[in-house]
């Protein structure tokens, strides 16, 4: 095909030659004009595409990949397990004594002493650690017990933690979890095949005790926590299994995986547990306590979520129920991750680079008990014992839609990024319209009349964009947000939260109004369509949109669920922000945004919980809402107050 080659060559030559600059300029102008005139449609399309993608995440049609074991060394469910009915009997004995302790309301010290005595009887070095953690909500005290079994044939540089806390993640006592750990400590220390030390931690309370133990183990101090030094120590912890068994029997093993600040454990750990529970113990694995939609209770749970006005054939369609089931799983993960909450005591481990999950024995009348749980844990420990190097770095970003299906990062990340791009285009568009204004020339009248075609000529002129006032407003709102956070986390506010929340909300919302009143008196607003200087409202909106977009796209790689939450709360409201024609309409708009920005203050329990999570566990959600979310929403409200 010589003719094609010639054509391509001449095309390239003509594109490169300087004679064709005119075409280049025309092409570029055409492109910009098309982009500019379709910008509004493009923004809507991007927003809709982003939201639709988010809604499509649980869809069975989108599929998701089958989970698999990435690390070949793991070899899950390839060993003979030795956990036998004798061990179950031992666990039952421990359980009886623990129930006695619970029934006579034994103190933390008493319980910890009992644990240490039992460990010592088994010949495993054990010790206690008492702690107290202070927060605005009060002081929590407790005593942890732990035992360290040094692997006889290894150097002791690495360790695995098997833990259980006194309280379950449901409202109840985790007595069977604790007895399993005690029985495991008697059983596992009989074998010599461990290449990593085994650490048994029986922590007090639910999260507090484990937090105190872990941060002391890793030598990180915290001003509001007093905890004893640990008398025994071991190597670097690689893996942790947390057992939670609140009922008297269980039907399924539920996996809880979310850690603090949206961290997840390596997916290989969950997949290994699932394979092992299935093949070694014959226990089905589910996500959280969500039963599979193909089972009877799972199906009923999903049907309960679908509103009753949906017609029966659609309600009971296989795909709809499957979608509902997956949506439930995805939403639960997002609810934990976006708020930075840990879904169980395992969640405290991830910040120290430890892969950890909670095995939750879903309470039921049967058929499983200590026997199945012990075998699963034994085999999982043997699998994690095989590791010679850390699990692969690429397996930390995923959304599990079902226990056996997951979405890779590329399947879900674009949804939040699309919304961020829509906001960015919006901000850039406002920036351009702040810099240019179309004015109508009257003076060219004589020529125009002669030509008789048009009376007036329109032309674009640039106007100055002074960003300093806009930046000043933004900085002021963010500083205000920081002050709000200081107030929220103070002890006197928490003490009288119910009385103070509403006045605080009104006061904060009124500050921009007051400032605006003073300033409009001092400096009368310039004419609405000034041809020399851009209106402040446009500049503020442009910068706010760009900032929100940057935040969404940057968080999306760190914590997708948080980015998705920000995309949902920022996407439409910020795109719709604008200066209405009349001041009263503007005031109404401002009130809407102020409610969006500060309305959450009324939810006392959530506020208290978020403050506690920040003060004790260092979860970023509370400061993020105060210093980032509320100020940006208020900025959008201030846009409505300013003259257009």
């Amino acid at each position: 095909m010589p003719s094609l080659a010639v054509r391509v060559r001449s095309r390239i030559r003509s594109a490169l030659s300087s004679g064709d600059n005119g075409a280049k300029v025309r092409r570029r102008r055409k492109l910009t004009a098309a982009l500019w005139s379709n910008l509004a449609i493009l923004r809507v399309l991007l927003l809709v595409a982003g939201y639709a993608w988010m809604l499509a995440l649980p869809s069975p049609q989108l599929g998701g990949s089958e989970t698999y074991i990435d690390e070949n060394a793991l070899q899950p469910a390839q060993v003979n397990t030795y956990w036998s009915w004798g061990e179950v009997r031992r666990a039952d004995d421990y359980l009886a004594e623990l129930e006695a302790l619970r029934d006579r309301n034994a103190s933390s010290e008493e319980r910890a002493r009992y644990f240490v005595d039992e460990f010592t009887k088994l010949g495993v070095p054990a010790s206690t650690q008492s702690y107290s953690i202070r927060s605005s909500l009060g002081v929590s005290r407790g005593v942890n017990a732990y035992a360290i079994y040094t692997a006889p044939r290894a150097s002791g540089t690495e360790a695995i933690v098997i833990s259980a806390s006194w309280l379950s993640l449901t409202d109840g006592y985790n007595l069977r979890g604790l007895s399993t750990v005690l029985a495991l400590s008697a059983f596992l220390t009989r074998y010599s095949h461990w290449s990593k030390d085994l650490i048994f931690v029986l922590s007090d309370s639910h999260l507090d005790g484990m937090h105190a133990w872990l941060s002391t183990y890793h030598g990180s101090t915290q001003s509001n926590m007093q905890a004893d030094e640990l008398e025994l120590s071991s190597g670097v912890i690689w893996t942790a299994l947390n057992l939670d068994y609140p009922g008297h029997s269980f039907s399924h093993l539920g996996i809880f995986r979310e850690g603090l600040n949206g961290r997840l454990p390596n997916q290989d750990l969950l997949n290994s547990v699932r394979v092992i529970a299935h093949h070694t113990a014959g226990v089905p694995v589910i996500l959280y306590d969500h039963f599979d939609s193909s089972e009877w209770p799972g199906r009923q749970d999903v049907l309960k979520l679908i509103p009753s006005w949906v017609p029966q054939p659609i309600r009971e369609h296989r795909d709809v129920i499957e979608y509902g089931y997956r949506a439930k799983n995805v939403f639960r993960q997002m609810a934990y991750q976006a708020r930075g909450r840990a879904s169980g005591a395992h969640g405290l481990f991830h910040q120290y680079r430890i892969d950890a999950v909670t095995l939750f024995a879903v309470p039921s009348n049967g058929p499983h008990g200590f026997y199945a749980l012990g075998r699963t844990v034994e085999s999982t420990l043997r699998t994690m014992n095989n590791l010679l190097e850390r699990l692969h770095a690429s397996f930390f970003f995923y959304i599990l839609t079902t226990p056996g299906k997951f979405l890779k990062i590329g399947m879900y990340l674009p949804s939040a990024v699309l919304v961020a791009v829509a906001l960015m285009f919006g901000g850039m568009g406002e920036w351009v319209s702040a810099g240019w204004v179309e004015i109508v020339d009257d003076d060219g009248g004589a020529d125009a009349k002669e030509s008789g075609k048009q009376q007036k000529q329109k032309r674009w002129v640039t106007r100055s964009r002074d960003v300093v006032p806009a930046l000043g407003i933004m900085i002021a709102t963010h500083v205000g947000g920081a002050l709000l956070f200081l107030i929220l986390s103070s002890r006197w506010f928490i003490a009288q939260q119910a009385a103070l929340a509403l006045p605080l909300m009104l006061l904060l919302a009124a500050i921009p109004l007051g400032v605006q009143l003073i300033f409009t008196d001092a400096y009368p607003a310039p004419a609405a369509a000034s041809s020399t200087a851009a209106p402040l409202s446009l500049l503020l909106k442009a910068l706010t949109l760009c900032l929100a977009s940057t935040l969404i796209s940057v968080t999306s790689v760190l914590n997708f669920s948080l980015a998705a939450l920000l995309a949902v709360v920022f996407g439409a409201p910020l795109s719709l922000a604008g200066a209405p024609a009349s001041p009263t309409a503007g005031l109404l708009r401002y009130v809407e945004y102020a409610v969006l920005a500060l309305g959450w203050l009324a939810h006392g329990a959530q506020v208290r919980e978020a403050v506690w999570q920040w003060e004790v566990l260092g979860v970023w959600f509370a400061p993020l809402v105060c210093v980032v979310y509320a100020p940006i929403m208020l900025q959008a409200g201030i846009v409505a107050l300013l003259p257009p």
Partner: protein, 402 residues
């Protein structure tokens, strides 16, 4: 206006005394192996205990730093934080002096704004908080430029020789500095003309610079007791022995490379840095201060061991050229890219090295974003600097090339 400066100084003082510096001390973005304060103290310790600090692979500071910090200057504690703040203040003062020389004003309302923006530029004050010696390099660049703008040849060349001794890429600034000494710092961007002075006049300046440089090299060798320091300090910038991650573009490339390609690509990367000097000096011969500014931007992007100070210096210098602002084509895009990069760099660094959920590619991607942001700023400034000459064009015309 004085209020802004007072605010900047107070804020900087508060930051310098805060415990923030303990957190930032060994941050890879703020101090490279060539500028790290921890390594400097290690070198001083070895030196004072009679061990040649250059015999190992940890200490790569110039003997000038070694001798001054081992004797006169404090190298630890709060005094040290105050010293770094003082050095930054000297940089701000020099920047204001350059502005005064360029605008031919004894003082102007912009002075305080320029000083305050320099002191509050996060790319400038964060490295200073981490006690990175790049703060000294930045200030020395500014002082050398200040003397050159005031037409004082000897101090300008002496300081340039010192900063070249501290960091070899500064040698690239010698040609534009000499051109600046032969002309004036006033803006000629609007009226380009061939270089007015004879180029042969640069010869005495070059000889003077070389003399200073030779004396400094001799002094360094006396301090270090041999020539071994040259390979550890200047050699590091050419042979890249330490691949600690930094915000620049070299380290990842050379971690991925087969060993037998290394010499070739080391040569390519080094030559690539040098290749810009002549074209920039020729194109901007009418305004050598602008040429220096652009070369500082190029060094910031392409030097082997950059820290955030280097782009910080380039971005702070933009304050000197308000006549180019109307001709910048995409300032908001560059700003947003910098905002993205400034958030992504520490985040991805944390994901890779602290939580272990990401890998080196994450951080490398963020350094690429940072490189694009810096490149965007540089190209836009290069365009605007030339575009000034054409002035307000009729709207029926489009400027394609200058």
């Amino acid at each position: 206006m004085a209020f802004q400066l007072a605010f900047a100084v107070l804020l900087r003082l508060g930051l310098a005394l805060s415990p923030l510096r303990l957190i930032l001390k060994d941050d890879d973005l703020l101090s490279s192996p060539l500028t790290s304060h921890s390594r400097l103290r290690e070198g001083i310790y070895l030196f004072q205990h009679g061990i040649d600090p250059y015999s190992g692979g940890t200490f790569r500071h110039s003997p000038l730093f070694l001798s001054t910090f081992a004797t006169v200057l404090p190298s630890s504690g709060v005094v040290c934080a105050l010293l770094w703040l003082l050095v930054d203040a000297a940089g701000a003062w020099a920047l204001v002096q350059i502005w005064r020389a360029r605008s031919r004003l004894k003082s102007s309302r912009r002075d305080e704004v320029i000083a305050a923006t320099y002191l509050l530029n996060p790319y400038i004050f964060l490295p200073s908080l981490s006690l990175s010696t790049s703060t000294f390099e930045t200030t020395l660049h500014l002082i050398s430029l200040m003397f050159a703008s005031q037409g004082q040849a000897s101090p300008a060349l002496l300081i340039l020789a010192i900063s070249t001794n501290l960091s070899l890429p500064s040698l690239m600034l010698l040609p534009p500095t000499m051109l600046l000494l032969l002309t004036d710092p006033v803006s000629h961007l609007a009226s380009p003309k061939p270089f007015p002075a004879k180029l042969t006049k640069t010869l005495p300046l070059l000889v003077e610079f070389l003399a200073y440089f030779a004396v400094l090299v001799l002094a360094c060798s006396l301090v270090a007791g041999g020539w071994g320091w040259i390979e550890s300090t200047w050699g590091a910038g050419i042979l890249l022995p330490d691949l600690t991650p930094n915000p620049g573009l070299w380290w990842y490339f050379f971690t991925e490379m087969f060993d037998y390609f290394r010499p070739f690509f080391l040569m390519v990367f080094t030559m690539h840095l040098l290749i810009y000097v002549a074209p920039v000096c020729i194109k901007y011969q009418h305004d050598p201060l602008y040429a220096t500014f652009l070369l500082l931007g190029i060094i910031a992007i392409f030097k082997p061991y950059p820290t955030l100070s280097d782009p910080g210096l380039f971005l702070s210098l933009i304050a000197l050229f308000p006549e180019t602002y109307p001709h910048l084509r995409y300032p908001i895009v560059t700003t947003l890219l910098h905002l993205h990069a400034a958030l992504l760099l520490p985040l991805f660094h944390h994901l890779w090295l602290a939580t272990g959920t990401g890998n080196a590619n994450f951080f490398y991607a963020s350094t690429l974003v940072f490189g694009i942001a810096n490149g965007g700023a540089l190209l836009d400034c290069a365009w605007a600097g030339l575009r000034v000459a054409i002035g307000e064009a009729d709207e029926r015309w489009v400027v394609l090339q200058e």
